[in-house]
Symmetry: C2
Amino acid sequence: MCDETNMTEAGTERDRGENTSKSVCVYDCRPDSSAAPGRTLDFTNMDYNGFLQALRQEFSLSTNETFVISTTDRKEIDEELYKGLVDGKTLQLLKSVDQELPMAIQERIEYLPHYHTLVQCGMYEYYASEGQKALPYAFAELVDNALSATGKNTGIRRIEIRLLFDESQGGPAVAVLDNGCGMTSKQLNNWAVYRLSKFIRENDMFHSEKPGYVRPSPVPRSLNSDISYFGVGGKQAVFYIGQSVRMISKPAGSPDVHEFVMSKDDFERKELKKENIYSGFIRNRKPGDCSHVNVSNEQFLQSIVIEEDGKESFTAVVITGIHPEHVTYLKQYFPLWTRELAHTYHYYIHGADGKDTREMRKTGNFSNIDIQISLFERSTRIPRVVNLRDVNNDMQTLYVSSSASTFEFKATGARDSLVEGLIRYHPFLYDQETYPVDPYAASAGPSEEEDDDCIVLNPEGRGKRPIFECFWNGRLIPYTSVSEFEWCKRPKKAGALPFECYNRISGVLFANDRFQVSTNKLTFMDLELQLRDKDTIFTRVNNGQEQRVKIEREFTSWLKECHERFDKQVMFQGFQGVTTREDV
Amino acid sequence: MCDETNMTEAGTERDRGENTSKSVCVYDCRPDSSAAPGRTLDFTNMDYNGFLQALRQEFSLSTNETFVISTTDRKEIDEELYKGLVDGKTLQLLKSVDQELPMAIQERIEYLPHYHTLVQCGMYEYYASEGQKALPYAFAELVDNALSATGKNTGIRRIEIRLLFDESQGGPAVAVLDNGCGMTSKQLNNWAVYRLSKFIRENDMFHSEKPGYVRPSPVPRSLNSDISYFGVGGKQAVFYIGQSVRMISKPAGSPDVHEFVMSKDDFERKELKKENIYSGFIRNRKPGDCSHVNVSNEQFLQSIVIEEDGKESFTAVVITGIHPEHVTYLKQYFPLWTRELAHTYHYYIHGADGKDTREMRKTGNFSNIDIQISLFERSTRIPRVVNLRDVNNDMQTLYVSSSASTFEFKATGARDSLVEGLIRYHPFLYDQETYPVDPYAASAGPSEEEDDDCIVLNPEGRGKRPIFECFWNGRLIPYTSVSEFEWCKRPKKAGALPFECYNRISGVLFANDRFQVSTNKLTFMDLELQLRDKDTIFTRVNNGQEQRVKIEREFTSWLKECHERFDKQVMFQGFQGVTTREDV
Ligand SMILES: Nc1ncnc2c1ncn2[C@@H]1O[C@H](COP(=O)(O)OP(=O)(O)OP(=O)(O)O)[C@@H](O)[C@H]1O
Ligand SMILES: Nc1ncnc2c1ncn2[C@@H]1O[C@H](COP(=O)(O)OP(=O)(O)OP(=O)(O)O)[C@@H](O)[C@H]1O
Ligand SMILES: [Mg+2]
Ligand SMILES: [Mg+2]
């Protein structure tokens, strides 16, 4: 009987070496044979005739009996095909090559996911309608991981993105560094396992413990730093950005640094050599030991390793093989994509109330998260550095900073699902709407009629744009927005309020982890669906107090108050008659 | 030195059996030791003391020397941890548990993708803004595969989707059947390999041949049936729809049927038993042999197997463990989602010119593709059956059937990229626009002002909707649309033509395989980007002839002609005065 446990995951692809033993599993499928397990036939070092001989013997075939030995795809193993026969194949012994099978036979197969599972996982997932905008969201996956890792830091949480584009230093490379908890070698191993999410992971090498995920307790706006979900983000991001990643990590409390490289080249090499695709080596070493770094063409790496000394714990994700078009984009649109990141993590960086540029000093609203991005182009040039906290023109900053009043609410549903929401009022002041316009948006400017040459900035406030941007566990999910709810929708019939007031509101929804997002974290799966559920209850929140009142009435009266208190229209009083200027 | 080739892909997770041999790889990391490879230490059947003994011996440790043997995560292997020590681990011999490593050591790790790679691959990929609409696109992946497989059929290409919801027959199950080329056992094995696309596949068991993908030659509208690209579609679709799939296939020219089951339960069982995750069995049997079918609870399967007799070749994809909400949706929205499929494959089903309901007989435009969907609910009830050819209200049918004239063009770019395009004119007739409205669209009806209670059907034609729906290799990519091109855009200044004419056009773009789509085939990656490239050339096509003329002028004059010939407005002539009816 064929020894099935003898086969390995990598399967028959592997053992093509000459002196390893080779066997096939042969089923007797001649018309009158009865169901029996396949038999192992060792053909190590045999020539074709020897193989036939062994076959005859195993199945007691008389010399004058005609038979055919074939693959399960009915290819007769003739002398030519025999040369290519590999270990572990299932074969069938037949009377004739096209006879019916008298009974069903089992053929063992191996179907390891192809390494493109890892290498290409990001390629087609971070698509955006027009390609380029995807890059900030790939970086966001790495920032997510750094935020998770630094979640328990007591001091500052430092996250750094370094664009190491200086070719004299071995660039281009991209490094994302954090001073978080780091990874043990087992955790680093787990990092490499595609789709091994924290919910199903065993962190201990001895598997004695059950997966130990503990859901974080609720915090305002779900800023819980718990933004890892699928076990794919880091890999997708890394292989979207480049072709190779070096993970370097030191877990707190350990004297060792663990280092692991995963690269497209490596996978290709292993495939070519028929080696195990998903086997590799972690390098365990002392901090600062860069004996393995190629000094001549990886100077940037040397710098990173040297910096390790004295750090209690950290993780560095070093990406190389950066796709050239990304290098171009990252340089050219530096302000654009850093601003997008500032927007994505606005409430992590600035705290639950966001950034109000009108306030001179920070008020209570403190965050210890420091996300810095630096671009190194030439060693002689000062790097371009931006701390995301200093970005002043991301949309959330613009919304917060032009808001005259805020209406807070809460939507609670089944299974602890919670959305905290707020609506801000951007009044009309003197001669214009103050509803902020996205300075970079293609559709900035009038969305309606473009016939006149005279373009008024933002003449209609929000216009037809959706009211709500949506955050999940505190971070922006960029491609999902919610237009409105029934209770904050412009009514059909004119009421006490001018219609324009409904165009002066912007909003934010903070969903907790009971809502699902897609694996690329670009869209929610079921936010609107859940919110429209009849069991979802909306309540107003006023000074932190929930109020079980009719939200529509509350909202309308808030909006009315905003209109009356904040909208200021220039009025011409004391009309004196018309004078026509002749001089213009 | 540790024998690295001895390790298997599944790694150390597997061999927990008692009588297999166990060894660890130990590095001497004591402060003064010099860099040396790790040594293999066999600890089969040893107790803790025996292990320590063997260790002392291997490294010539004197009895009074103190040492620590630890994991690479610095956990000391004490008597307790020793019990859980598994084969293949890397350990380090230290002087003290927190001493520095004198040199770097290599730790072999395994990082097979978790089986969620397969089981969850569809879950988060077929998201649509509101969840439900994704199901037709999961089916589309299976139809894509069936179209590819039947591409070389000489007779009819029959594709069947059966919803087997009759519980007395063992349902719910979903089966997708085609009479295509089928799969050999090797091809069936390849089917199971995630991300193994046709471009990198070796179809022959002996690997002697190079991957042999041949790009199909150009055909009108790229209806080339070559819609497989990433090696993920089938798996994503199947695990989005249910939890288990049975692939049954008979390749042309072979007497055998090959059958393979992949299921979530199976993966879970293998993980629990520490078996190889990506190993399985193909069942090879004669057609109609259902000895393996559980007659009491899989009657639907028995019927499918019995049908096999006499078929030259076929493939059946049988999905079970259907998510209950899908069953509900598929029943409840039967017309909606079948219509969506009719739309997706409109040009495959009806030929390059599409379906014109105004024509009584089919004209030249023949297609041998037959896609039928049947819903079985109760054995006593007649199944609900729709042939996609008979669907009359999918958007493309509506567009084709209300078109008065067509403007054809072509966009060619670098690397053979080709988009065939057409614009249709939907005239104003008497008292209304004939531009079709999506009968199911949420936003059907006036998009502008909703204040009046009186709703006029489609008062503004296309309105602000994009002009172009986009097809890739002939099938719809549903989430990508192209608004307009410079040359067919409504001009800023009024010209000879009324502005409304620009709202009377709809369009289709047929992109070839030089354009990229996302893995879920829901969006194009770079269609607009490539089309906006300065090297892309637009030419008008008139009666199959390309015309190198200025396309904008051509288009405008076509539009003008359409307006003059087809728009018919009711005019009141010979005004006689006003009469007020008193009787209403
Ligand atoms: N900077 C880091 N510091 C510490 N651990 C990290 C870091 N980055 C990744 N990890 C570990 O590696 C695991 C895998 O990361 P990856 O981003 O690939 O998936 P994930 O975060 O688990 O899920 P998601 O798909 O939502 O990103 C993480 O769960 C975490 O345990
Ligand atoms: N109905 C079928 N008939 C014959 N072969 C099939 C059928 N369905 C799938 N296959 C084979 O299995 C392979 C894998 O199918 P799958 O849909 O998972 O990926 P793909 O079609 O290669 O790529 P994509 O991700 O674009 O769908 C196909 O390439 C094809 O060779
Ligand atoms: Mg992550
Ligand atoms: Mg496919």
